[in-house]
Amino acid sequence: MAIEVKNITFSYPGSLATAVENVSMTIEKGERVAIIGQNGAGKSTTVKLMNNIYKPSKGTILVDGIDTKERTTAQIAPHVGYVFQNPNDQIFNDDVVKEIEYVLRYRKLPEEEIRKRREEAIDVTGIRPYVEMHPFDIPLPIRKFLTIAVVVAVSPDYVILDEPTAGQDLWGCAQLKTVMDYLQQKGKAVLTISHDMEYVAENFDRVIVMAHKNVIADGEKRDILYRMDTLREAHVKPPLSAQIAQAVGIRDKILNLKELSAAIL
């Protein structure tokens, strides 16, 4: 039960340059993986190929053994959920509940199942106080949790979050953490693309570094985030606490403030 990406190459229709060149990786069910790298390194493209929005020009992708080339995007969606960066591209109902239930009704699930999943999704994403409001009246960062609720209601095995912390405040990040814990507890795999190093260090175990259209590092976060040359090649800075630890000459690999303060005491 995994997403296997077997050295895929892909270029967008209409552009000669390749967006991604022989990228390979495997995401097991229940894993928490973060892909980091500069814009244009091919992060979004790789993730969109996994979700079968695009089909690779070369190489294959297997989602739980199904080759994405033989399926349409909508058929892969129940397995791989994707939360886009801009919630406005998806929302079209004028009511929160109808928005969450639309896909469930589209797939003709029993009424009882729809109600249970909808309630669970609303509670997990913390949008209960905004349920009566018109989706476009809800402030943008909180509207993003509505699209997360839609994916949680579908409960695919793999959930992809594209820049989830962009524009989020303290409440937003805390709410995101509860969603991540809920998905972890349900045994779902969570894959994210993010520039927020603190968020990556806090919530993810495995880190994949991408640069100039292919994967240049893939491994346990503590080891990867301390490989200075790889991060420099990918134009990415480690979390602030790691930068401080290095500048001060602390040897052991520190990733968050708690560890840093323990090392200083």
């Binding site: 929005i53 349409t72 969606a77 994707y82 591209d89 998806q90 929302i91 589209y106």
Partner: protein
């Protein structure tokens, strides 16, 4: 073109060193409109043919000749043939001198002439308009119309219409992508497509309309609503006397031609 040349180009009038392209846009518009309406009002194949030849003559001596003839060809096949077929079918078996037989039915000469009238009216009208639209930049036309007194916001509306059409197509693909990623099928049989109209069309319309708020703020921040005198970077040459004379001549010819055509032909 180096930056210096590019900046220098704004210091004097835009030149495309082709006599028809540099013809004053407003005069050119009046010229084409008058001949177009001449062929429409008279609706006789002789006049239509004359306008068509005139348009062809002009088009050959401009850089846009290739696209001109291709568009004409496409328009001829798509537009005229279907209409002519319908018209012939209707007039089959009418009394009057017979031009030729089709499927055993007599096709009167009058029907053929009325088809010819139709064909050359459309071709003449289309030809003269094509010589205008293929050789004039919409922004130059608007710039000259502003000289004649059109308000700058009208220019804004016309120009952003054309760029709006391109950007809304991009938004449509983006929304289709995100809806497919949610599990809503958009390709496939006709029924599937009809079912996907709402989930695809609505997010595009609603998010682009609510997006107008941000664009209004951006335009407001650039003193868009400032009343005073508007200057322009891209200056267009004022109309030369000879161009004004040609335009006036065309209008007189059109009125005279229409009256004469109606009476004698």
């Amino acid at each position: 073109m180096t930056d210096q040349e590019f900046i220098e180009s704004f210091r004097h009038y835009q030149k495309k060193n082709n006599w028809w392209c540099d013809f004053h846009p407003v005069a050119k518009l009046v010229f084409c409109l008058s001949f177009g309406f001449l062929s429409l009002i008279v609706f006789k194949w002789q006049v239509g043919l004359a306008v068509f030849l005139l348009a062809g003559l002009i088009a050959i001596r401009t850089p846009a000749r290739k696209t001109y003839f291709i568009t004409l060809g496409v328009m001829f096949v798509a537009g005229c043939l279907f209409t002519v077929a319908v018209r012939l079918y209707v007039h089959m078996g009418d009394p009057g001198p017979v031009a030729f037989y089709l499927f055993g039915k007599a096709v009167p000469v009058a029907a053929v002439i009325s088809c010819l009238d139709l064909i050359f009216m459309i071709e003449g009208f289309l030809g003269i308009f094509m010589t205008f639209f293929l050789t004039t930049e919409m922004r130059d036309l608007c710039c000259c119309l502003e000289q004649v007194g059109m308000s700058p916001s009208a220019t804004f509306m016309i120009l952003s219409t054309f760029s709006g059409i391109a950007s809304i197509k991009e938004k449509l693909n983006c929304v289709r992508e995100s809806q497919r990623a949610r599990g809503i099928e958009t390709e496939g049989s006709l029924v599937v497509k009809v079912k996907s109209i709402l989930p695809v069309l609505f997010p595009v319309i609603i998010s682009s309309m609510t997006g107008v708020e941000d664009r209004t703020l951006a335009m407001d921040a650039r003193a868009f609503s400032a009343k005073g005198k508007h200057t322009a970077l891209r200056r267009a040459a004022p109309a030369k006397p000879v161009e004004k004379m040609v335009a006036a001549l065309a209008v007189i010819l059109c009125i005279a031609g229409s009256i004469a055509g109606r009476m004698y032909l």
